[in-house]
């Protein structure tokens, strides 16, 4: 009886449902002090004067840091260059204001209320300058896009366009998005008497990467980075917004060192919009050329997103276009326009999310030009091998995703004529899109310990970002050990545990899982070795390599399962309290990975070295097909998504319950992206207009219909021994396009700027 593949309920479900899971903000600290940020109210200019004297004199105030008195902090190394930061410019170092929401003062007091009040007493005078707002200025190429050059060329796309029988040329726009996890970011920093630093973080960014970031920011040599401990046990969502070192992570540690007391900073909802990055708005120009049968001869995908003086993160929109369809001539370009709005960052389904909206909308428009079924158009351009790198896929079940999805959805009932389908007064539309995501495998280590009572503990420094890692990794270890998952405890989120990369880019299951499995198998083998040398063991004299786990913590002879020993008995006879093994996994010599270009030290160089000799054997991607039904009120232009079918090839499904949870969440993100999510910026002032959940609309339950999720559940043996790919981001990809395509099918109106609402559909 194996546990992997079964819908084991979350091991932390009861804790979370009853409010007893201890999130970072819940951790009690003796002698704790509380900090708040004071943020710039202009988008560009200089601080002409700042007077904190009233704040400093206010009750309970312990420290006020401004650019006038803050310790000098170094520029941070960018994540793209092997560091841990997106915003490389540290806070409080000069009088310049580069975006509205930049920290201009950091106030620490005995209570949060006192700190908040004191912050209101700080008087700041600004010399304002007109900010750069919107993607209107001069565009320039970024240094790198996800580790790749900003421009990609295969064949001669311009010439092929000129020669194409049918062309589509359109521009698509997506707005600024914010991550909006339910839990605000929290940092608690405390120094001990020996100069060691402990930081409790609500951190998606991986505790080890953050440790290096703290060392860099605080001037602690890398070789002494071990004196820094970062802990992150539970996370109330991250989605990219808690993924890197930002000034808000660093300042509490700076203040705690000055005060000699622990400092806690918890952001307000409004501050979350300006303190942890965002998804840039994008303008994407798509040009497609095809023959009359719909075979693509050319794609040009030109994407522009927000640049910044403080760091660089180009939204990698065109990268999906480079690999998704069999097209001989493809150009993808990325450009930036500098704005005074802070540094953008990864947001769930970075690149593929907004990129697929443009690409998959354009394909739908091409299908319309050709009078061809949109699904048939995709099948005619199906890429049997990776056209970008000219090598086979490790696995690709996309064709089955299309057919299974079409069957479940009832795609064949679609009348191709826009506006032809109705339900009462409601216009009904069907739309579809392809999903693909380049999930990554990162180097990961795990330690598995079998204890004298036969239970096991697995330790790994990854973070469960809410995806179910605690549960799923207990299942993986249980199967490898031959015990029940309830006998395994997975412990994570602590730099004292073996190294793990941040669980980003849908990497959690596929990176941690194989490491956990390898360590569990290794420790099981160690127990077997003890047994076969033990005259009192039923396994005495057997070949340890052939001893099999038969469940219940029992190890049996391969030739006679009736003769078995148990973990408990072996350890007891050996007089051992426990045995343990540590194993690593994740240097992927046979798979292409763009990861080597963006992985931080020490991983990046390692990956670069490891992959170079072997790169080019296989490409690995997660694939899927999204089918959507919408209803549009013809009077009012109100759009409701009434059905979604998502079929995904994510390799083996470790736990259908947690995997489905990821898919439903991802599709819901797509619904939000299509119909309501948008951060608005004042066109002249360059400030976010409504940084709260009243102004930034997320889907409510009433906006999310029943979602039919189906996984092919086919192990990909080339990716890793578990056969598991990634699921976190894939289900977002294509949903917004499928909705926009369905809206077009329902109404005949093509909306190329998100979100889609009454304003776009009237008239």
């Amino acid at each position: 009886m194996t546990s992997v593949g079964t819908p084991v309920p979350r091991v932390d479900g009861l804790l979370k449902a009853t409010g007893t899971a201890r999130y970072t903000a819940d951790i009690p600290f003796e002698d704790l002090t509380h900090a708040v940020l004071l943020q710039a109210t202009i988008a560009r200019g200089r601080i002409a004067s700042i007077d904190a004297s009233a704040a400093e004199a206010a009750p309970g105030v312990l420290l006020v840091l401004t650019h006038l008195n803050a310790p000098r902090l170094p520029r941070m190394r960018a994540f793209a260059k092997g560091g841990s930061a997106q915003q490389t410019v540290p806070a409080l170092q000069d009088d310049r204001v580069r975006f509205a929401g930049e920290t201009v003062a950091f106030v620490v007091a005995e209570s949060q209320e006192q700190a908040r009040y004191a912050a209101m007493l700080i008087s700041v005078e600004y010399d304002e300058e007109p900010p750069a707002v919107g993607l209107h200025g001069d565009a320039y190429p970024p240094a790198k896009v996800n580790g790749q050059p900003p421009d990609y060329r295969r064949g001669d796309a311009e010439r092929a366009l000129a020669d194409a029988a049918v062309t589509v040329e359109r521009t698509y726009r997506t707005p600024v998005h914010h991550h909006n996890p339910i839990e605000p970011p929290v940092t608690i920093a405390s120094w001990d008497d020996d100069g060691g630093l402990t930081v409790h973080e609500a951190a998606q960014g991986g505790v080890h990467m953050m440790r290096l970031g703290f060392a860099e920011a605080l001037g602690i040599p890398r070789r002494k980075a071990g004196s820094i401990r970062v802990v992150s046990k539970f996370l109330g969502g991250g989605f990219g917004g808690k993924g890197f070192m930002w000034p808000r992570n660093i300042l509490p540690a700076v203040a705690a060192r000055l005060l000699g007391r622990p400092v806690k900073l918890e952001l307000t909802r409004a501050q979350m919009y300006t303190s942890g990055g965002y998804r840039s708005e994008t303008v994407q120009r798509l040009r497609l050329g095809a023959d009359r049968d719909g075979r693509l001869g050319s794609i040009v995908h030109e994407s522009t997103s927000t640049g910044s003086d403080m760091g660089e993160f180009p939204e990698p929109c065109a990268q999906i276009t480079q690999m998704l369809y069999a097209c001989p001539n493809v150009t993808g370009t990325h450009r930036l326009v500098r704005q005074n709005v802070g540094v953008p960052t990864f947001t769930r389904a970075p690149g593929e999310g907004p990129g697929s909206f443009a690409l998959e909308s354009a394909l739908d428009e091409l299908a319309g030009e050709l009078s061809l079924d949109p699904l048939e158009l995709r099948l005619r351009n199906y890429a049997e091998t990776d056209p970008e790198h000219d090598r086979p896929w490790s696995s690709k079940g996309l064709r089955e995703c299309y057919s299974e999805g079409a069957e479940r959805f009832g795609w064949s009932a679609r009348n191709p004529e826009p506006g032809s389908m109705r339900d009462g007064r409601w216009l009904v539309g069907y739309g579809m899109a392809t999903a693909a995501y380049s999930s990554h495998t990162w180097p990961t280590f795990a330690r598995v310990r079998i204890r004298a009572d036969g239970t096991a503990v697995v330790r790994c420094a990854t973070t469960d970002i809410g995806t179910g890692t605690y549960t799923v990794m207990a299942q993986v270890a249980a199967d490898a050990l031959g015990v029940r998952p309830g006998d395994v405890t997975f412990e994570a989120g602590d730099t004292r545990y073996p190294f793990a990369f941040p669980p980003v880019s849908s990497s959690g299951a596929r990176s941690i899982g194989p490491a956990v499995r390898a360590a569990a198998l290794a420790v099981r083998t160690r127990v077997a070795r003890l047994a076969v040398k033990d005259r009192e063991s039923p396994l005495f004299g057997a070949d340890a390599a052939t001893v099999r786990a038969i469940g219940g913590g029992r190890l049996a002879r391969a030739d006679d399962p009736e003769r078995y020993d148990t973990f408990v008995d072996v350890l007891e006879r050996a007089g051992l309290g426990h045995v343990e093994e540590r194993k690593g996994y994740g240097v992927m010599p046979f798979l292409h990975s763009t990861a080597s270009g963006i992985a931080p030290w020490p991983v990046g160089p390692l990956l670069r070295v490891a992959t170079r000799p072997f790169a080019g054997r296989y490409s690995t991607y997660d694939f899927g097909a999204q089918f959507v039904e919408v209803r549009v009120d013809p009077d009012l232009g109100v759009v409701r998504v009434s059905r979604v079918v998502g079929v995904y090839d994510i390799g083996r499904v470790l736990n259908p319950r947690t995997a489905r949870n990821q898919a439903v969440g991802g599709i819901t993100w797509g619904i939000g992206m299509a119909l309501m999510e948008r951060t608005t910026t004042h066109p002249r002032l360059g400030k976010y207009t409504s940084p709260n959940l009243s102004g930034y609309l997320l889907p409510t339950n009433a906006d999310v219909p029943d979602i039919d999720v189906h996984f092919l559940d086919r192990p990909d043996p080339l990716v890793n021994p578990l056969g598991v790919k990634g699921v976190g981001e894939l289900p977002v990809v294509g949903v917004a396009a499928a909705i926009a395509n369905a809206v077009h099918h329902a109404t005949g109106k093509r909306v190329r700027s998100l979100p889609i609402g009454p304003a776009e559909l009237l008239g």
Binding site: D635, P683, L685, L697, A702, D703
Partner: protein, 331 residues
């Protein structure tokens, strides 16, 4: 810390006495709006007078067939009240489209009437807002104004009144009863909220020392066939882009009675008198509905981002009236 005094009143006389001697005081009902505004630094009363213990929680039938609603009736209770659901379904529906279940459980009728605009610039203490700081200017004009007003605006303010409930009350000729140490008076709901003009900071006809004690609904057989329709950017828990409260009576294909009010379009719940005038006696057809909507929206002015609301409002009027004609009122 920014301190304020807290008082609690057990009866109306004590409450209005307290506020008459505390010029900087505010009444606290459900707190769903006032507390937000205090936290954002928009409101800063010196004294908060808790009125939640006043005996103003009844919904009573009046001898003439109307209904008297105590000012402290919670929105969710009013929405579920049998009298309201039977005689004034548009009001029950309007309440249920407002906010979330949790907020409706807290929010009071009096507080709902007095809730303030959700214009983002009104809330943002660093933005220019004539309502918050007279003479400061208006960042909404030329800023993000997609959700802003199209009727009755001025060059000083284009904010909307956010209430759904009040739109139905406007259509129903509700009367607001207020009390102070100087006595009681009755203010028709349609006169209660004021258009901005040059004084957007003056939002209602209520004097600073007056307490809303009740809202009265006159009898209205017409209202039994009524609907509230709200157009918004998501299916639940969002303010109206446009909303319509409507009641319709048709005899022999002719409109013999109509009530119409719009939400999300002005600084007050907008009773559509002009549209009612056009409709009364006209054939009950889609064409008449459209003519009436055109007449009502003729003076509408769009800004940089909310031009679409003019057409949307017209269509919402037509769609709601059509639905009343073909399907009758809501159950």
């Amino acid at each position: 810390m920014r301190t304020f005094a807290y008082l609690s009143a057990d009866d109306v006389a004590t409450a209005v006495q307290a506020i008459s001697t505390e010029p900087g005081a505010k009444f606290l009902g459900g707190g769903t709006n006032l507390v937000d505004l205090m936290r954002e630094g928009v409101e800063h009363p010196d004294t908060v007078i808790d009125i939640t213990r006043l005996p103003l929680t009844g919904v009573e039938e009046l001898p003439d067939g109307g209904v008297r609603i105590g000012a402290l009736v919670r929105n969710s209770d009013l929405a579920g009240d049998r009298l309201i659901r039977g005689r004034y379904p548009m009001l029950s529906q309007a309440l249920l489209t407002g906010a979330s279940a949790q907020l409706r459980n807290m929010a009071t009728v009096g507080g709902n009437v007095l809730q303030r605009t959700r214009c983002a610039y009104f809330y943002d203490g660093t933005a220019a807002c004539n309502k918050r700081e007279p003479g400061a200017g208006c960042d909404a004009i030329g800023g993000f104004n997609r959700n802003h007003a199209i009727l009755g605006t001025s060059e000083d303010c284009i904010a909307t009144h956010p209430s759904d409930m009040c739109v139905a009350l406007a259509a129903l000729d509700a009367v607001v009863e207020v009390e102070s140490v100087r006595g009681k008076r009755r203010i028709p709901l349609v006169d209660f909220h004021l258009l901005p003009g040059g004084t957007p900071q003056v939002e209602t006809a209520l004097e600073a020392d007056e307490l809303i004690t009740a809202v009265e609904l006159p009898p209205s057989p017409l209202a039994a066939t009524s609907r509230y329709r709200k157009v918004r950017d998501r299916a639940s828990y969002a303010f109206a882009l446009v909303s319509v409260a409507a009641a319709l009576e048709v005899a022999d294909g002719t409109v013999t009675g109509v009530r119409l009010a719009l939400g999300g379009v002005a600084a007050k719940p907008w009773r559509a008198y002009e549209a009612e005038r056009v409709l009364l006696g006209a054939p009950a057809t889609e064409e008449s509905f459209r003519l009436a909507a055109e007449a009502e929206l003729a003076p509408a002015v769009g800004r940089s981002q909310n031009e679409f609301k003019i057409e949307l409002a017209k269509r919402a009027v037509v769609a709601t009236l059509r639905q009343l004609l073909t399907e009758g009122g809501a159950a």
